[in-house]
């Protein structure tokens, strides 16, 4: 494992999550930001770099920084979809390594559920979107459905195997008091749920919730002075491969095949070293194609890999331990919650769902239509 310590996650927090009709998107982010800074033992006046991504305004960083009373000396509004926050971690580490700042705040929030922002269809579509949107594919679910259909065709993956991902997520969520969906769920329940886009059923799809989160990343020097033991960023990598689905050469193979090896090489770890994995689960198929691309199993073997309780509580591959986007919460862009849960597990503060003696966590975000990928490897001393 990598020995040099450059930057660490020192503060983590979620805002109110679930349904928050009385909260604005700025209130959720402010709540998460203050909680994360307090968690670290830091203050808004300590923040030098601000990272934010969201669809709530064009001016995410300007509006949020002003609301918080921050005038950052470094700012980054990289938005590559749900994986943005894994990319932000990499950018923060690079900035710290370059000596540009020592304290970075990463923030996300969304009120998409209370504002009923999902399922909107634009009246006019320009540029490259005009070759897809007029046909009526519901996005993003329809894109992931087409990936699942092709995966089934090429590799014989079955709906029961997709359902295993949702069932395992629910079992983890049942051990997380803050999870949104905690009722028991069986493979049969998933298969009997309403068909959304063949072959994806309702319970193959992530939740639609409100919520926000924040993460504080600092230099080693600052991290040593914070309240919690540092959760080191050991490796990171990002890519995006396409925007329109028609431009994705193989819908069963994502950019995780690039970012996984790069991040793991930087961290100096092998697959066997990973104690806990937090894998973006916008849809059940997302997990299967990501695990394959990351190399935890061979291409086409993801369905078998997730079966038999391997990724469920008590299984040999603890994954999405908070219940994931499928059962914990999913406010539009979920990537920040993957990082929060990974850090919580490495701190040993995950309560009932704690993975014993977790030392290395692998986090992988996937954004838009399997378009963007970012991997982060975290570890503790």
């Amino acid at each position: 494992m990598r020995r040099d310590r450059i930057a660490a996650i020192v503060g983590i927090a979620e805002s109110d999550i679930g349904v928050t009709p009385d909260k604005t998107v700025l209130q959720l982010q402010a709540q998460a930001a203050v909680r994360a800074l307090t968690d670290a033992g830091l203050h808004t006046r300590d923040v030098q770099a601000l990272f934010c991504a969201g669809a709530w305004t064009t001016w995410t960083n300007l509006m949020l920084a002003e609301y918080l009373g921050i005038q950052p000396i470094y700012t980054d509004s990289t938005n590559i979809g749900g994986s943005s926050f894994e990319a932000h971690i990499g950018h923060a580490v690079a900035g710290i390594q370059a000596g540009l700042f020592e304290v970075a705040l990463i923030v996300y929030g969304s009120t998409q559920r209370s504002q009923r922002l999902r399922g909107k269809v634009p009246g006019e579509v320009g540029l490259t979107e005009q070759y897809e949107a007029p046909f009526g594919l519901p996005v993003p679910v329809g894109a992931y459905a087409m990936a699942a259909m092709r995966h089934m065709y090429e590799y014989g993956t079955r709906s029961e195997q997709l359902a295993e991902v949702a069932v395992a997520a629910r079992q983890w969520a049942m051990q997380n008091p803050r999870a949104f969906a905690r009722d028991p769920l069986s493979v049969e329940d998933v298969l009997a749920s309403r068909m959304i886009c063949e072959p994806l059923h309702l319970y193959d799809c992530c939740l639609v919730t409100d919520g926000g989160g924040a993460i504080v990343v600092t230099s080693e020097r600052v991290a040593r002075q914070c309240r919690h033991k540092p959760i080191w960023v050991l490796g990171h990598a990002e890519t995006h491969t396409h925007h329109t689905l028609l431009s994705m050469p193989d819908v069963t193979s994502t950019g995780a095949a690039v970012t996984g090896p790069r991040a793991m090489a930087m961290a100096g770890i092998r697959h066997d070293d990973v104690d806990v994995a937090e894998i973006y689960d916008s849809f059940t198929i997302t997990v299967i194609v990501t695990l394959e691309a990351l190399g935890f199993c061979h291409q086409g073997e993801g369905g078998a890999f997730v079966s038999g309780g391997r990724i469920a509580p008590g299984g040999s591959f603890p994954m999405n331990t908070n219940g994931g986007g499928l059962s914990y919460c999913h406010p539009g862009m979920y990537g920040i919650f993957l990082l929060i849960e990974a850090a919580l597990q490495l701190r040993g503060d995950a309560g009932m769902r704690q993975v014993p003696n977790a030392q290395i966590a692998l986090v992988h975000g996937t954004g838009v239509q399997l378009s963007s990928s970012a991997t982060v490897v975290l570890g503790r001393d």
Binding site: G119, K120, V121, P122, G123, E124, V125, G126, L127, T128, Q130, Y131, E132, A133, P134, F135, G136, L137, P138, V141, G142, A145, M146, A147, M149, R150, Y153, R194, M195, I196, C197, E198, P199, L200, T244, L245, L246, S247, V251
Partner: protein, 138 residues
């Protein structure tokens, strides 16, 4: 409830020949004059070789279903049309398009051969849909 408008393409100098072709019953894709690769969607620079010398050519309108989904929950103006089938079709020229599959009474499958059929949407927009090519062996 007022019917929400369906997405309408905003024509630009990349896309106009494509959409005008649809109205004329011609499926237009591009071919790079420098590297001879076919390109879709239309653009001003070849993504294969950076050349700006691209020409529109008429595609044969034949292809193979790469993947598809049957939509059971449509969004907004499409919600009353369910179920309908959206596919990615690989044209014989080697480029991929998103489309709808129509006239597939027996259903559709990955690997099925399809041909373009221009269809006027209820708002007048002409879109290149595809339908199965009827052959003795599927």
């Amino acid at each position: 409830m007022t019917m929400q408008a369906k997405p309408v393409p905003v024509l630009d100098t990349d896309s106009r020949p494509f959409w005008e072709g649809c109205r004329q019953g011609v499926l237009r894709i591009q071919r790079c004059k420098t590297c001879a690769q076919y390109v879709f969607y239309p653009r001003s620079i070849c993504p294969h070789c950076m050349s700006d010398d691209l020409a529109f050519v008429e595609a044969k309108g034949l292809g193979t279903v790469y993947t598809y989904t049957v939509v059971h929950r449509g969004f907004g103006p499409f919600q009353d049309e369910v179920p309908f089938t959206i596919a990615l079709v690989d044209l014989d020229e080697g480029v991929r398009m998103m489309t709808r599959i129509v006239d597939a009474g027996e259903g559709i499958g990955i690997g099925d051969r399809v041909e373009v059929v221009f269809s006027e949407r209820d708002d007048g927009l002409v879109l290149p849909y595809f339908r199965p090519i009827l052959t003795a062996t599927r």
